[in-house]
């Protein structure tokens, strides 16, 4: 009886306040879409980091002859200096952070270079002009700074380069995009909450007669308030479901059908990730409605 009563009231309320309910649905839809987009962007960043950071390495370039770099004023790195650098990487405090160390000699560097230069533009180069280097693979790629700081000042070291620098700009862009999406989501969520509050208030006012009688005959407070809460929750959940749908189609058409076909060297997020985000969007929607209910109902349906 009670359940039927509550559900009946919810349906009635939604019908009576149709346009308000629809606006709640749409606003939560858009706001949760932004929340979801921000979450998916972060997931994409994490995935890229996993993929790329594992492959990147630090290059410690050793002093060549005739370098203009102050640190290389004494000429090319001596074998002793090279041994000392290797020792720092493999035996010192850094050894935990370092996975493997590979020494690339002038000749190897030259061979690699030539192999990549199919058009022969650099054919006048000789191995002497190349720089020997240590190629260091890190156990934890995030620890780049530590290793770079520790090796940069060593005698015989010219410069330390991290391939991460190539990606960092991209990540910075993606992070900025996340921030923008999150900020928009925040504003929209506030709008959604205010709308839900207004909807509940209108609904409560339009059913003041009923709630007055319910209080008078001794309905429990939960039975009086439940229909209003559910109304907000149903509308917000509707918005969340639309947002999930929107993200699903977005990922399907933009990422899986389009990006995957044209930019193939990147592993992308997929619709599976949308399903990971979906429950959280529902949680946010219901939470939003719950907060709005608590804020509003105390005032309008007091016992």
């Amino acid at each position: 009886m009670r359940l039927r009563f509550i559900l009946g009231e919810v349906v009635n309320g939604l019908r009576r306040n149709g346009t308000m309910a629809l606006s709640v649905v749409l606003v939560t839809f858009v706001s949760l879409m932004f929340v979801g987009a921000a979450a998916l962007t972060q997931m994409q960043i994490d995935q890229l980091k996993d993929d790329w950071y594992g492959k990147v390495e630090i290059s410690i370039f050793l002093c060549p002859e005739n370098s203009t770099n102050e640190q290389c004023a004494e000429g090319a790195a001596t074998p002793e200096q090279e041994a000392a650098i290797r020792a720092v990487l493999e035996e010192g405090a850094l050894s935990d952070l370092v996975d493997t160390v590979y020494y690339e000699s002038r000749e190897e560097a030259y061979d690699k270079f030539v192999a990549n230069d199919s058009e022969g533009i650099w054919s006048s180069l000789t191995p002497d002009q190349m720089q020997p280097s240590f190629r260091v693979k890190l156990a934890d790629p995030e620890q780049f700074e530590v290793v770079a700081d520790a090796t940069e000042g060593l005698p015989g070291v010219d410069v330390v380069r991290d391939q991460r620098e190539i990606f960092s700009e991209l990540f910075r862009f993606l992070n900025a995009a996340t921030v923008v999406a999150a900020a928009l989501a925040g504003v929209m969520l506030i709008a959604a909450m205010l709308l839900i509050t207004t909807t509940i208030r209108l609904s409560a006012l339009s059913r003041r007669r009923e709630t007055q009688i319910m209080r008078m005959v001794g309905s429990s407070r939960s039975l009086i308030q439940m229909p209003f809460m559910l109304e907000g929750a149903v509308a917000a959940t509707g918005g969340a479901l639309l947002a999930v749908g929107g993200l699903y189609f977005g990922v399907t058409y933009l990422v899986e059908d389009w990006l995957k076909g044209s930019v193939t060297w990147v592993r992308y997020i997929g619709t599976a990730d949308v399903w990971t985000v979906a429950p959280w969007l529902l949680v946010v929607a219901v939470g939003l409605a719950a907060v709005a209910s608590v804020v509003t109902l105390g005032r309008y349906t007091r016992a």
Binding site: M1, R2, R209, Q212, M214, R215, M216, V217, G218, L223
Partner: protein
């Protein structure tokens, strides 16, 4: 059944009290008129019993409960023991007579079976058999008030509070409503009725409690409306 012990109610600090040291005891099965002019404290008296307000001083006991100490979540249980009838009927305009009465049972979680058994019985008691499917606007004022009484009494509460139940009705119709309230009183229900209607009070010859300026000025068995009335 209802007891007020030295009850004072002040709405705004410093203002004249709406009720001033009122002590009254109403026994189970009593029929009591609460009389007094507007602003005499009648409404406050009823609100304290329904625990819509809390007393500023003194103690209120209703149906074995000490209302000063009643926690908010138990208030609905108190209200199930008090039926309330108002001057303006307060029916739901979009529900039929039957639905209006059934509503009071639905919202306290009674079973469909119980509702189907009780509501027709109650409509018969108030004399509205055959009008179950009418809408409130299709009824006369007296009939609407009967629906309101049926709704207030359908759960058989031990107390029935009536706030000017005949205030909107003509004298002839009022007599019918009073007969109905008297009948309900005879089932053992305590009836407390706030009223301005001197004729009714004089005719019924029941206990009369009179408030003036928040003070209890008269508590008389088998009383009349007011000795000083013009």
């Amino acid at each position: 059944m209802i007891r007020l012990d030295d009850v004072t109610k002040v709405y705004k600090r410093g203002a004249r009290p709406a009720l001033d040291s009122v002590s009254v005891e109403i026994e189970r099965g009593d029929f009591v008129f609460l009389v007094g002019s507007s602003g005499s404290g009648k409404s406050t008296f009823l609100k304290l019993i329904l625990r819509e307000e809390r007393p500023t001083g003194g103690d209120v006991y209703v149906a074995g409960r000490h209302l000063n100490k009643l926690s908010a979540w138990r208030v609905p249980h108190l209200r199930r023991e008090i039926g309330a009838v108002f001057q303006d009927f307060r029916l739901l305009p979009n529900k039929t007579v039957y639905q209006n009465v059934a509503f009071a049972l639905q919202v306290i979680g009674k079973s469909k079976h119980h509702i189907q058994a009780t509501v027709p019985e109650m409509l018969e008691l108030v004399g509205l058999s055959g009008k179950e499917r009418r809408m409130p606007h299709e009824l006369s004022g007296g009939e609407q008030q009967r629906v309101a009484i049926a709704r207030a009494f359908v759960n058989h509460p031990p107390i029935l509070l009536c706030d000017e139940p005949t205030g909107n009705l003509d004298p002839g119709t009022s007599v019918g409503i009073m007969r109905l309230l008297d009948r309900i009183n005879r089932t053992g229900t305590t009836v407390l009725m706030a009223t301005h209607d001197d004729e009714i009070v004089d005719q019924m010859r029941k206990r009369v409690i009179e408030l003036r300026g928040g003070q209890l000025v008269r508590d008389q068995d088998r009383g009349v409306y007011g000795l000083e009335r013009v």
